[in-house]
């Protein structure tokens, strides 16, 4: 996919057409009935999430199924899962920008929005999981009357540093790419209020060559920073587990294994959203079969890497020879959670193998189905990492299973609603595709033909 790559955009398209394709669904067309129904449902779920939060803060974490020895439950699994999903946007944007994959222009904006929403939701879960959530700021090194400092050797402090950096960075990276497009929206909007709002957020962008040059320099430098940042964030999440002494967790493979899993689930979510957005906003000419082909390949690569990670885990548990590790391995395949574990392997390793076929990669029904299956599989993986280890601890007398409560399921379901609601608002208020990047890509493709 170098300079000789096949064009990803229609060859006879003009710059104005491209802008119109992206901007018109937001500025000219009214949201359809389906959008309102989806918005209504997700808004209700968002209110449900608020109710879950309120009940949690009133009653405490006892409303969930967490109890000794399974002291981590849905909250931590949801956190890892959402944060994983929140990785692909920055990855697509940054890594594909640095490697000059021009086709990213069609998908990077909404993938970054996805990152932002998913990472923000993810950031709530560790705070919810604290017994005293109102004291989460104790993780910050600030001058206080107790004369206390954070314990820097604690994985929780690393988490706080990594996630807060990641969320701030994602907002800025997304917004910086959005500024020129906000100017385009300002210049196309009809209502005075829309012109003003877009104009203020566009910071008075006037497309000056000097500004473009600096924008490009800054954006590329941020992309170069984003790649190690993305890798560090899920590595730190992996170390939350690996820094413990628990069987099945204390493994050096955890940081890269978590990063790969994050990319994998994130790209799957991008596929899901790309299918929905393409259909909802009529972006067939912008998000083409070639994009699904490329994304399918990345999901496939992720699946193979996940398979390798599982194999490495099993091999190390057996080869290491520690009885507790071998017992953990036996528990994976024959224990109480074995059916779920096999389901996870099918979802994450077996089903994505369909994507070896180019025809299936370009088939939207297949791409959509696989992406949903992968997302379910990755959630299963996150919860099983916790359940399999904590319910099967060193002391056999302590072993108990986790029993999810209504509030466990409600919090997970409603968090998906929050994500949907945010994404629906994004699709109606902002250009879902980076118009300036798209036209830059179109310009490049026109030049390559000339």
């Amino acid at each position: 996919m170098s300079a000789a790559a096949p064009p990803s955009l229609p060859p006879q398209a003009s710059y104005a057409e491209m802008v119109g394709l992206v901007a018109d669904p937001v500025l000219e067309r009214r949201p359809g009935r389906l959008w309102w129904i989806a918005f209504g449902v997700t808004l209700l779920l968002t209110l449900g999430f608020a109710a879950c939060l309120a009940w949690l803060f009133i009653q405490g974490v006892g409303i969930w199924g967490v109890n000794t020895p399974v002291v981590w439950g849905f909250a931590i699994a949801n956190f890892v899962w959402w944060l994983g999903i929140g990785h692909a946007g920055t990855l697509i944007s940054a890594l594909l920008l640095l490697t000059r994959q021009g086709w990213r222009a069609s998908i990077n904006r909404f993938a970054e929005a996805m990152t932002l929403f998913a990472a923000t939701i993810a950031g709530l879960f560790p705070i919810m999981h604290l017994g005293r959530p109102y004291r989460f700021y104790w993780l910050l090194p600030y001058p206080n009357t107790m004369e206390l400092w954070p314990q820097w050797r604690s994985a929780l402090v690393w988490d706080f540093a990594a996630i807060s950096t990641y969320i701030i960075f994602s907002i800025l990276f997304w917004y910086w790419g959005l500024i020129p497009d906000l100017a385009t929206m300002r210049d196309r909007a009809h209502s005075r209020l829309a012109r003003r709002l877009y104009g203020i957020f566009a910071l008075g962008w006037r497309g000056s060559a000097r500004h473009w040059h600096r924008h490009d320099v800054l954006y590329r430098a941020m992309a170069a920073l984003a790649v190690p940042l993305v890798v560090s964030v899920h590595s730190v999440v992996g170390m939350d587990f690996a820094a413990s002494l628990m069987p099945g967790w204390q493994e050096t493979i955890f940081p890269p294994y978590f990063v790969v899993g994050a990319m994998f689930s994130g790209f799957a979510m991008v596929l899901t959203l790309a299918v929905l957005l393409r259909w909802g906003l009529g972006l067939q000419e912008i998000i083409t079969a070639r994009h699904f082909d490329a994304m399918g390949k990345i999901v496939l690569a992720g699946s193979v890497a996940m398979g390798l990670s599982y194999l490495t885990e099993w091999f190390n548990a057996w080869y290491g020879g520690a009885w507790i590790e071998r017992g953990h391995l036996r528990f994976l395949f024959t224990g109480d959670y074995a059916p779920l574990y096999f389901a996870m392997l099918v979802c994450n390793v077996l089903v994505p193998q369909l994507l070896w076929s180019g025809r299936l990669r370009r088939n939207l029904v297949v791409a959509f189905t696989v992406s949903i299956v992968v997302n379910i599989g990755m959630w299963l993986e996150r919860i099983l990492i916790i359940w399999n280890t904590l319910s099967h601890t060193h002391l056999p007398a302590m072993r108990h299973l986790f029993h999810p409560t209504f509030w466990d399921w409600a919090t997970l379901g409603c968090s998906i609603g929050v994500f949907g609601c945010l994404f629906l608002c994004f699709a109606r208020l902002l250009p879902a595709v980076a118009m300036h990047d798209l036209n830059k890509q179109l310009h490049g493709e026109k030049e390559a033909r000339a």
Binding site: A16, V19, W149, A162, G204, S208, S232, H436, H443
Partner: protein
């Protein structure tokens, strides 16, 4: 860049704008700029805009914030609040690197954004160029060359751009 008189020549495609930019630069005019809807490779060179020091600033900002956070951890864990945790060294540098690394990224990003805002003068919601008729398309599909040289008037600009067929030449400000 100044608030003074600006001549704007409008083109329909980026290649012609690049030609026009080169001619304007060869003519030795000052105050050259362009208003375009997307980044065009080579435009900054064609206009002779010179480099920017955003990246060195980011490096400095990142290094300083990383050093600050590392020093903060060292001070708190070694001097101000030493905790013996399983006999581990007080100066646990491998883990101190994690928050320090995040601080490098955050510090570099914030410095870069600040440097961008300072060097471009944004946010600036009003500018004479916005007054030009049809300038709204500078963010969509038109490519404007801007000349802010008191020695150049519309006639001279039109003569210099002979053969490039600008769609319009306007004076604003």
């Amino acid at each position: 860049m100044s608030g003074g008189r600006v001549l704007l020549a409008e083109f329909a495609d980026p290649e012609t704008l690049l030609d026009a930019a080169r001619r304007a630069r060869e003519a030795g005019w000052r105050g050259l700029d362009a208003h375009v809807p997307f980044a065009i490779e080579g435009l900054a060179d064609a206009l002779g805009l010179g480099g920017t020091r955003i990246r060195p600033a980011m490096l400095l900002g990142g290094a300083l914030s990383g050093a600050f956070v590392y020093a903060l951890q060292w001070y708190s864990a070694v001097l101000d609040y030493p905790v013996n945790s399983g006999g581990r060294p007080l100066h646990s540098w491998p883990v101190f690197l994690i928050p320090a690394f995040e601080a490098v990224i955050l510090g570099a990003t914030l410095t870069g954004i600040l440097a961008f805002l300072v060097s471009t003068g944004l946010p600036r919601l009003h500018h004479p160029a916005f007054a030009a008729h049809g300038f709204a398309r500078a963010s969509q599909d038109r490519f404007f060359l801007a000349v802010a040289d008191p020695a150049v008037d519309a006639a001279r600009l039109a003569a210099a751009l002979d053969g490039l067929a600008p769609l319009s030449i306007r004076e604003v400000g």
